[in-house]
């Protein structure tokens, strides 16, 4: 295909201008993130206060999974129980290892050891 271009048009002109524009767009986006930080902080602080007042311990994500809605709630002995009527299936958090829980029980014998 025959193509004629203006003699004095430099190829790098539009391309560098385009890249410059993109770089400016990225800078603008990052600036926006910084500029909206106070607003975000206010919202998060409000949310945090709400969490404290209500006594919530988990987020509202994965509401269908008993233990991901409340990781505090997972039945340690029930694998993959995600939904009251659901079949066992690949759950939201099966690959994430359960965080090491501090010791939840200790057996001792009266007379030999006393709980401190």
């Amino acid at each position: 295909m025959r193509r004629r271009r203006r003699d004095d048009a430099r190829r790098s002109g539009p391309v560098l201008a385009g890249l410059g524009l993109l770089a400016a767009a990225l800078a603008a986006e990052l600036a926006w993130a910084g500029w909206s930080a106070p607003e975000t902080r206010t919202r998060l602080e409000g949310e945090r206060a709400l969490v404290g007042a209500l006594g919530l311990s988990d987020t509202a994500l994965f509401t269908e999974a008993r233990y991901t809605r409340h990781p505090s709630l997972a039945d340690l002995n029930t694998p993959f129980q995600d939904h009251p009527g659901g079949f066992d299936h690949f759950p939201s958090a099966s690959i994430v290892p359960v965080p090491a829980l501090p010791e939840s029980g200790r057996l001792w014998f009266a007379g030999e050891e006393e709980p401190s």
């Binding site: 430099r10 190829r11 391309v15 560098l16 890249l19 993109l22 767009a25 990225l26 986006e29 990052l30 926006w32 993130a33 930080a37 975000t40 919202r43 998060l44 409000g46 949310e47 945090r48 709400l50 969490v51 404290g52 007042a53 209500l54 006594g55 919530l56 311990s57 988990d58 987020t59 509202a60 994500l61 994965f62 509401t63 269908e64 999974a65 008993r66 991901t68 809605r69 990781p71 505090s72 709630l73 039945d75 340690l76 939904h83 009251p84 939201s92 958090a93 690959i95 994430v96 290892p97 965080p99 829980l101 501090p102 939840s104 029980g105 200790r106 057996l107 001792w108 709980p115 401190s116």
Partner: protein, 380 residues
């Protein structure tokens, strides 16, 4: 403009002319590359926003949650336990929490029904406060529509809605039904003196493990979950999901790697001859290498910028709709919430370097030898 800058611009002109020869292929290359960066950047921004919000917001969650385990399942906690826990040294406050899941048969969603810890936030009798997800899930068409809950066949409980939380706190409150204490006990049939679990606040975060150890010794039938453990779970969860998304775009990554490998595998006869011609007309090795650097930088830099700008916009202006299900998880009641614009500088820099450096190296490596050879040898 200094001579050096002019020289760079002239080299860039040539590079673009050379790239324009295979216009379609190079355009496809940049497009696939940008797509890969877009997906990675989206996942990165989304996960970072979730991690940030979760960490910040859970800071005031109770330090320790105590659950009673009976026959392997969670059981209701007697009030006496609350006193026992409050008596442990280091615990500033312990209170029984009343909450539970309600499975709504009409839409298959789980609601978290709860009595607020702060008495001032308890709704009056016969009314509830709802999270933003419930009106949506139930299809409420008008403000002030009451909530009807049915526990079993033939049962219908009506509650007035006094407050609906907004999406500003959606991440935490989306599925909540806040109820009056008396209403809650009546609704679930839980007698006085029993609680779902106990939450304890510990003044000094470093003491939490000690308190848990003591409490565990005191009450072996109880299970203790710390706030730190929950936060860690979330960090890991979002990171894992971020990685899952990256794996899902593996096909695009693979396509790209194939493109790049083909470039790096060596020069075609035409490219070799071209370098010979350039050397013959007076370009030295540095000029050839600078020209190739331009090629690598223009393609990878361009792809990085396009992908990152688009990814940022996609996540923070459009809610990450393309990838949200992977990152937020599956649910019947899908929480809607604003994402906190949070940019992790280190991650962004890593993405930039990962995007540009390998590609530039792949473009540069095959020409090294040709660029430094005598033009005569190259052109024959």
């Amino acid at each position: 403009m200094t001579p050096w800058l002019r020289r760079q611009r002239a080299l860039a002109d040539y590079t673009l002319a050379a790239l324009a020869r295979r216009r379609g292929k190079n355009a496809a290359l940049v497009a696939v590359y940008a797509l890969v960066v877009f997906a990675l950047a989206s996942a990165m921004f989304f996960a970072a926003a979730l991690r940030h919000e979760t960490t910040q917001v859970l800071q005031d969650a109770p330090e320790i949650t105590v659950q009673k385990i009976l026959m392997g399942r969670q059981d209701l906690v007697p009030a006496a336990t609350v006193e026992k826990i409050a008596g442990i040294r280091g615990v500033t406050r312990a209170e029984g929490r009343l909450w539970g899941y309600f499975y709504d048969r009409t839409n298959g969603a789980n609601y978290t029904v709860m009595v607020p810890g702060d008495k001032a936030m308890e709704p009056p009798a016969g009314s509830v406060a709802l999270g933003e997800g419930i009106p949506r899930a139930r299809g409420f068409t008008w403000d002030g529509a009451p909530l009807f809950l049915s526990r079993f066949e033939g049962d219908l409980q009506k509650f007035e809605v006094v407050r609906t939380f907004t999406r500003a706190s959606g991440l935490m409150t989306s599925d909540l039904v806040l109820m009056n204490g008396a209403d809650f006990r009546a609704f679930f049939g839980i007698p006085e003196g029993l609680y779902t679990d106990v939450v304890a606040r510990v003044r000094n975060p470093r003491e939490v493990d000690t308190v848990v150890a003591k409490a565990g010794a005191l009450m072996p039938e109880m299970r203790f979950v710390t706030r730190a453990a929950i936060q860690r779970s979330y960090q890991k969860l979002f990171s894992w999901r971020e990685g899952l998304l990256a794996a899902l775009i593996g096909a695009a990554v693979l396509a790209f790697v194939i493109f790049a490998a083909e470039k790096a595998s060596g020069l075609s006869a035409e490219e070799t001859r071209e370098i010979g011609i350039l050397k013959a007309v007076g370009w030295d090795t540095r000029d050839i290498i600078a020209m190739k650097l331009w090629e690598g930088a223009l393609v990878s830099g361009g792809a990085f910028l396009i992908g990152t700008v688009a990814g940022f916009a996609h996540v923070f202006f459009f809610g990450g709709t393309l990838f949200a299900p992977v990152l937020k998880g599956w649910a019947v009641l899908y929480p809607e919430f604003d994402l906190a614009p949070q940019v992790d500088g280190v991650q962004l820099l890593s993405l930039a370097l990962l995007t540009t450096l390998p590609y530039v190296a792949a473009t540069l490596v095959p020409i090294w030898r040709t660029a430094s050879a005598d033009p005569d040898a190259v052109m024959r």
